[in-house]
């Protein structure tokens, strides 16, 4: 589903710091600290208009955690995918909740399962409330590769001895 994006829009994206990997399927790669700039370009420019926050998925590749954002533009009727790489040791990406309120819970889920710190997120100050799926007092982030749960001792709460 190729889509023709105006040349100056692409130029604005590159100048904002996004590396356009594939023009037809609109795949971008952005450094973490440039995310707010690129996203406001994506959201605000009338000829882009990616105002629908579709999806956010984190993947642990061992040394880096890749965050894969996807937005949809009702005007162009096409998707843009933005991938952001952060080191697994201290994963942190600026939040985009201020631009798309819909991303709020997606970011909370990524923090909960992968430990990616979204600075600027309304709940980031209090990690217990930031967790969305796991109990507030859970230790560790289960979807990471280096997650080794040890039996919490209490059969009703916390990680169990996996048989």
């Amino acid at each position: 589903m190729g889509v023709t994006v105006a040349a100056d829009a692409l130029a604005a994206l590159r100048e904002a710091g996004a590396e356009v990997v594939d023009q037809t399927t609109l795949r971008l790669r952005v450094a973490p600290h440039l995310m707010p700039a690129v996203c406001s370009v994506l959201h605000d420019r009338p000829d882009l208009g990616f105002t629908y926050p579709a999806d956010l998925c984190a993947t642990d590749l061992g040394d880096t955690i890749v965050l894969w954002y996807r937005f949809w533009s009702p005007g162009l009727n096409c998707d843009v995918t933005v991938s952001v790489g952060t080191p697994t040791s201290a994963p942190s990406v600026p939040t985009v909740t201020s631009i798309w309120p819909g991303m709020n819970w997606h970011e909370r889920e990524c923090f909960d399962l992968y430990g990616v710190v979204f600075d600027g997120h309304p709940l980031i100050a209090d990690p217990a409330r930031m967790r969305i799926l796991l109990p507030e007092d859970w230790v560790g982030h289960p979807f990471r590769k280096d997650y080794r749960p040890e039996f919490s001792g209490d059969p009703l709460h916390g990680p169990q001895a996996t048989n």
Binding site: P53, A54, D55, W68, P74, G102, L134, F143
Partner: protein, 371 residues
């Protein structure tokens, strides 16, 4: 025994609606701060049904993923099977035969009618009209019997696989479906006379829980929730998959954005789904129903995503493969998860009875919220 009086420091009373409550439709807990009957703030707490499904999927070969997706949106599990099968097909660029595409559309639309009937029943009984619940489930039973005759199961079908469908439709299925559709359309007229025409139902739904078009777009609402707020966006039309581009049906869109609009969208969608079922029965071509997959199925390295229109909204699956027989990462974007994130914004300053109406109108299923 003197009961000591505990001084309430704040005038508001915090009430836990859930996780075990008659109308949260699943294990959802709403920590609601009430001032009398008015809701001051509401914070949804989810995760009671979190099974770490995405991590389980990453530990199994591709062919074994489909039965797990039945447990995502258990009211429309055929749509979930379709979502993950389509993503696997895009990942390994597998071609699905024509007849399998029509069978998939047929079964997904029957599943959509059944899911909307569950919505109709539970939404009406949340507002007090318990009789509509019984009528809706009487029709749903007949759909479940139809789907049982095809797939063998009543709720968790595991019937749409990467490459097509495991077996063809049994003979006598077409006549049974046509008989069902003929009997079903007058029933929808009955529901509308029972509910839509009722002034109390209108009073409980009109202007309640309004989602503006901008909010719907900014929060990523999809499906009937988006189409109730004026967003004309239905994946079966904007990004047609399977055989949807060869079938004509119209997409109901209302602009009020309140509970009534969402209810009307779903009731109208039931009629459209019935139309689609008839058309797909009529022009279903002959031919085989699946393409053979290799014994050990190893898709190429890379990632793929596919978007499908489940009865609740945009259900899309993102999958990343590293060449091994197991997927490296599977992520499911669930519409109910996004719709629940709108609750704090929707429920501010609303009355307790409306909390139930709004939650019912979002039609969330906690299986796909918690994954």
């Amino acid at each position: 025994m003197a009961t000591e009086v505990v001084e309430l420091n704040s005038p508001n009373m915090t009430v836990n609606l859930g996780p075990q409550h008659p109308s949260t439709h699943g294990v959802l807990r709403l920590v609601v701060e009430l001032d009398g009957e008015y809701v001051q703030s509401c914070e949804p707490v989810i995760g009671y049904l979190h099974r770490g499904l995405e991590r389980m999927l990453a530990a199994r070969p591709y062919r074994q993923l489909v039965p797990f997706t039945d447990r995502l949106d258990y009211l429309a599990s055929l749509n979930c099977n379709l979502a993950i099968s389509q993503t696997i097909e895009r990942l390994a660029s597998i071609e699905v035969p024509e007849r399998a595409q029509y069978i998939r559309v047929l079964l997904c639309e029957l599943n959509r009618i059944a899911s909307h009937l569950v919505f109709l029943g539970t939404f009406a009984s949340d507002l007090g009209a318990t009789t509509a619940f019984l009528y809706a489930f009487r029709e749903r039973e007949r759909i479940l019997d139809l789907l049982e005759s095809v797939t063998g199961a009543r709720l968790t079908y595991n019937w749409i696989r990467p490459g097509g469908v495991p077996a063809d439709l049994p003979e006598g299925f077409a006549e049974a479906t046509r008989a069902f559709i003929a009997g079903f359309l007058p029933e929808i007229r009955d529901y509308e006379r029972l509910l839509t025409g009722n002034p109390i139902f209108r009073a409980r739904c009109d202007g309640v829980g309004v989602i503006s078009r901008e909010d719907a777009l900014a929060y990523g609402a999809s499906g009937p929730v988006a189409r109730g707020s004026g967003l004309d966006f239905d994946l079966r039309r904007t990004e047609p998959y399977d055989a949807y581009d060869r079938l004509e049906f119209d997409v109901p869109v209302f602009t009020q954005g309140d509970c009534m609009a969402r209810y009307k969208v779903r009731v109208e969608e039931m009629r459209q789904s019935a139309r689609i079922v008839e058309q797909s029965l009529r022009d279903m071509p002959q031919g085989d129903v699946a393409t053979k997959l290799p014994k050990v199925f190893r898709p190429p390295v890379g990632d793929a995503y596919s978007r499908t229109e489940s009865p609740r909204g945009e259900l899309s699956v993102y999958m990343r493969s590293d060449g091994s027989p197991n997927p490296e990462r599977v992520h499911v974007r669930a519409p109910s998860f996004v719709h629940l994130s709108m609750l704090p914004m929707l429920l501010r300053g609303v009355k307790l009875a409306d909390v139930i109406a709004i939650l019912g109108s979002l039609d969330t299923v906690l299986g796909e919220v918690d994954r």
